[in-house]
C-alpha cells in the first residue's frame, strides 16, 4: 500500500536540501523562543511557536511521519532510520536542556530579579514552550535531516494512518491549540500570585522597616501577557512610603542619585509579554487619610492580533503605616 504521497510536489518528496533548510529555520525559531535575548518577545511568542509547529508539520509530511507514533512499521531501512532518529533526538533533547539552563540563568540576571522578588516560577512560560516544542519536533526534525535524498519519495510501505490524514489531523490539532490559546486569553480567569518578604533583604539604609512586595497577574497561566508589580515599601509607625518615591524620607539625601540602581515600581522591563501584548500600562501611588499607602498598577492585555478583544489586568497593594498589609492582589 502506498502511504499517501500522491500529489506531493517532487521537491518536497525528494529534496534533502529543502528538508535541511527547514530544519535550520526550525532551529532558529526555537532558538529565538529559548534565548534570553531579547528579554521580552513582545508578543511574538505565539507566532514563533506557530512557526515551529508549522515547519514541524511540513517536515512530518515530507518524511511521511515515519518518526511519529502514528506509523509503526516499515522496511529495514525505515526501522534503522527511525531508531537512529530517536537515538539522536534523545541526545539532542539533553543538549537542548543543557542549553536552556544557562539561558534561564542569563535571563534571570537580565531581568534583574533576586530571590526576594521572585514569584515562584522556576522555568517561565517561554522555557516551558521551548521544552515542549523540542520534545515534539526533535524526532521528526532528525529524521528529516538524516533521511537521504529521494528516500521518502516512493511512498514507503508503512502501516498506520496515511500521511495526508496524519498531516491533516495534526494541523487540526495545532489549530485547536491556537484557538484554545485565544479563547483562554478572553475567558480563563486571571491568575494572581504574590510574595511578600519582610524585612526586605535588599534594604540596608532605610530609616524604618521595609518589605519587598512582588506580584504577577497572568493570563493563560503565563502563556499570555503578565503584569508584574515589584515594590519596596517602608514604614516607621508614623508614615509609610515607597522606596524611590521622591516624597518619601531618605536616610541620606546624597543617595537619591543612586536610587535608580534599585528595583523600581512600575518598571516597564519587568513585564513579561512573550505571549501577548500589554498596552496602556499605568501606575498610581497615593497615601490615604489613615496614612496607608496605595499602589495600583494596571494595563490592557491582549493577544496582539488585530480584531481580538482585550482585558484589563490590575494589581493592588495597600500597606498601613504600621506595616500591616491590608490588601495585595
Amino acid at each position: 500500500m502506498k502511504a499517501g504521497f500522491a500529489g506531493t510536489p517532487a521537491w518536497r518528496r525528494e529534496g534533502r536540501g529543502a528538508r535541511r533548510l527547514l530544519v535550520v529555520l526550525l532551529a532558529l525559531a526555537w532558538g529565538a523562543i529559548a534565548s534570553p535575548v531579547p528579554v521580552s518577545l513582545d508578543g511574538w511568542g505565539p507566532i514563533l511557536v506557530a512557526g515551529c509547529l508549522g515547519i514541524f508539520l511540513i517536515l512530518g509530511h515530507m518524511t511521511g511521519w515515519l518518526a511519529s507514533p502514528f506509523r509503526r512499521d516499515g522496511d529495514e531501512i525505515v526501522l534503522a532510520l527511525r531508531g537512529l532518529a530517536y537515538r539522536r533526538a534523545f541526545r539532542l533533547f539533553l543538549l537542548g536542556i543543557l542549553l536552556l539552563v544557562p539561558m534561564l540563568v542569563v535571563g534571570a540576571s537580565q531581568g534583574g530579579t533576586t530571590i526576594a522578588w521572585e514569584v515562584p516560577d522556576p522555568l517561565g512560560a517561554r522555557a516551558v514552550a521551548a521544552l515542549l516544542i523540542l520534545l515534539v519536533v526533535l524526532p521528526t526534525a532528525v529524521m528529516a535531516w538524516i533521511g537521504p535524498s529521494g528516500h521518502f519519495a516512493g511512498g514507503l510501505p508503512a502501516k498506520g494512518a496515511p500521511v495526508g490524514a496524519v498531516t491533516a489531523g495534526l494541523s487540526a490539532l495545532v489549530s485547536v491549540l491556537i484557538v484554545a490559546w485565544l479563547v483562554g486569553l478572553q475567558a480563563l480567569p486571571v491568575s494572581v500570585a504574590s510574595k511578600v518578604t519582610i524585612p526586605d533583604p535588599q534594604d540596608a539604609f532605610s530609616p524604618g522597616t521595609c518589605g519587598a512586595f512582588a506580584a504577577v497577574s497572568q493570563l493563560d497561566q503565563g502563556f499570555g501577557p503578565s503584569l508584574v508589580l515589584l515594590a519596596q515599601v517602608c514604614w516607621n509607625g508614623r508614615s509609610v512610603w515607597l522606596v524611590n518615591d521622591p516624597g518619601g524620607p531618605s536616610p541620606n539625601p546624597s543617595w537619591r542619585g543612586f536610587s535608580n540602581a534599585l528595583p523600581q515600581f512600575c518598571l516597564r522591563s519587568t513585564d513579561r509579554s512573550d505571549f501577548g501584548v500589554l498596552a496602556d500600562q499605568q501606575c498610581r501611588v497615593w497615601v490615604d487619610s489613615s496614612g496607608s499607602i496605595h499602589v495600583v498598577m494596571w494595563a490592557e492585555a491582549g493577544s496582539g492580533l488585530p480584531g481580538m478583544g482585550t482585558r484589563w489586568l490590575q494589581l493592588n497593594l495597600v500597606v498601613a503605616r504600621s506595616g500591616r498589609v491590608l490588601s495585595f492582589d
Partner: protein, 354 residues
C-alpha cells in the same frame, strides 16, 4: 620464569589514564593533608567525574545474576522507586537527598554492567542485534520521557503551588538528569530477553586499572559517610593566642582561638575578643556579642548557632559561651554541638578557654 618489563606498555592510553588517576588521587590526598581551605566539593566532583569516565571506559560483563531479566527488572524498579523518593523529599531536608543519590549512583553502575553499556556505546562496538535493541530502547525511552516532561509541564500549568514545588524541589531535577542520562539503558535492561543458552561469562580480566577505578569509586561513595562520622569521633584541633592589650589604667587581654572540628567536612569555630578587668569585675571590650556567635567557617557542614550567652557572675567573672550545631549534609542525624566557652576572673585569670 621472569617476566620482562615492556616499555611499550607505558605509552598506552590505559597506562596514561591510570597514571593520571593515581596522580589525581595522590594530589587529592596530599591536599587533604595540607590545605584546609580547599574547595572540597569541587575536588570531589572532579574526582568523581574522572572516575565515571574511567568506569565507562572499562569493559564489563553482566555476570550470572544481572544477565537474568527478573534481576534486571528488579534493578529498574528499584531505580524508579529511588526516583519517586527523591521527587517526594520535601524542600529543606537537604540531608535526606544524599543517601538516595548515592544509592542511585550504585544502581547506575549496576545498570551499566547489566546492559554492558550498549545504549551509549560507539556504533563500531555494537553488533546488529544490539543496535536494533538500543534503537528500540531509545524510541521507547523517548516516549516515556515525553510523558514525564508533559507531567512536569502539567505541574507548571496546574497552579502556583505545583509551580512552587517545581521551583523548590531539588530531587525532581535529579530525577530529570537521571532520566535524560539513563532512561534508554533502563528500558534496555527491562526489555532485553534472557539469554537463550546459558552463557559462559568470560570474566573480564582484572587489571590493576580496574581495581584502581573500583577502589576510587568505593572511596568516593564512602567518603561523605566517613567524613560525616568523623565529625563525631575526630578530636578537635585547637589553636589559641593570648596576649596583653594595653589599655589605660586597667589590664586587658586579647583572646584568640580557633577550634577546628571534623575531617574533610570541617568547621572552624573562632573566638576573637578583647577582655579587660579592674579587680572588681571583668568585662568585654569587644568580640563577645551576638554577631560573634555566628562566625563559624564551614567546609561542607551546615552550622547553626543554638545558644549565645554573655554574663558577668556575682564574683565579677566574665562568662561568654556559644554553641554551634554542626550537621553533616551527607548523612541524616549525624551532627555535633560544639560549645566555645571563655571565662575570665575579675583579676584577669583565664578560668576557661578553648
Amino acid at each position: 620464569m621472569t617476566q620482562r618489563l615492556s616499555w611499550r606498555g607505558l605509552g598506552t592510553p590505559e597506562f596514561l589514564v591510570g597514571a593520571l588517576l593515581v596522580i589525581m588521587v595522590a594530589l587529592g590526598l596530599g591536599l587533604i593533608a595540607r590545605l584546609g581551605q580547599l574547595n572540597w566539593l569541587l575536588l570531589y566532583l572532579l574526582a568523581s567525574s574522572i572516575t565515571v569516565i574511567l568506569l565507562r571506559w572499562l569493559p564489563v560483563e553482566p555476570g550470572a545474576l544481572l544477565s537474568r531479566r527478573p534481576a534486571r527488572r528488579a534493578l529498574v524498579l528499584l531505580m524508579a522507586g529511588i526516583c519517586c523518593l527523591l521527587a517526594a523529599i520535601p524542600n529543606g531536608l537537604a540531608a535526606w537527598y544524599v543517601l538516595p543519590i548515592l544509592a542511585l549512583i550504585c544502581c547506575n553502575v549496576l545498570l551499566g554492567r547489566a546492559t554492558q553499556r550498549v545504549s551509549a556505546a560507539p556504533d563500531r562496538e555494537v553488533d546488529e542485534w544490539q543496535e536494533e535493541m538500543r534503537n528500540r530502547a531509545h524510541l521507547v525511552g523517548y516516549r516515556l520521557l515525553a510523558i514525564f516532561v508533559l507531567g512536569l509541564a502539567g505541574a507548571y500549568l496546574g497552579s502556583y503551588i505545583t509551580r512552587a514545588w517545581l521551583a523548590q524541589s531539588f530531587g525532581i531535577w535529579v530525577v530529570v538528569a537521571e532520566l535524560l542520562l539513563f532512561l534508554p539503558a533502563m528500558v534496555l535492561a527491562w526489555e532485553q530477553p534472557d539469554p537463550v543458552v546459558e552463557p559462559v561469562w568470560r570474566s573480564v580480566r582484572t587489571t590493576w586499572l580496574r581495581r584502581a577505578v573500583f577502589a576510587a569509586l568505593a572511596f568516593e561513595l564512602l567518603l561523605p559517610v566517613l567524613a560525616s562520622l568523623a565529625l563525631l569521633v575526630v578530636p578537635p584541633q585547637i589553636s589559641t593566642t593570648v596576649r596583653a592589650a594595653s589599655r589605660e589604667s586597667r589590664g586587658c587581654s586579647y583572646l584568640g582561638a580557633t577550634e577546628t572540628v571534623g575531617w574533610v567536612l570541617q568547621a572552624t569555630l573562632p573566638i576573637s575578643a578583647e577582655v579587660c578587668w579592674t579587680g572588681a569585675r571583668a568585662f568585654e571590650q569587644w568580640g563577645m556579642n551576638e554577631s560573634d556567635c555566628a562566625t563559624a567557617m564551614t567546609s561542607g557542614l551546615l552550622a547553626k548557632t543554638v545558644s549565645c550567652r554573655r554574663k558577668v557572675l556575682a564574683d565579677g567573672t566574665l562568662y561568654f559561651t556559644y554553641t554551634t550545631r554542626l550537621v553533616s549534609p551527607a548523612v541524616p542525624f549525624v551532627g555535633r554541638d560544639v560549645p566555645i566557652t571563655v571565662a575570665v576572673s575579675r583579676t584577669g585569670r583565664l578560668l576557661e578557654f578553648p
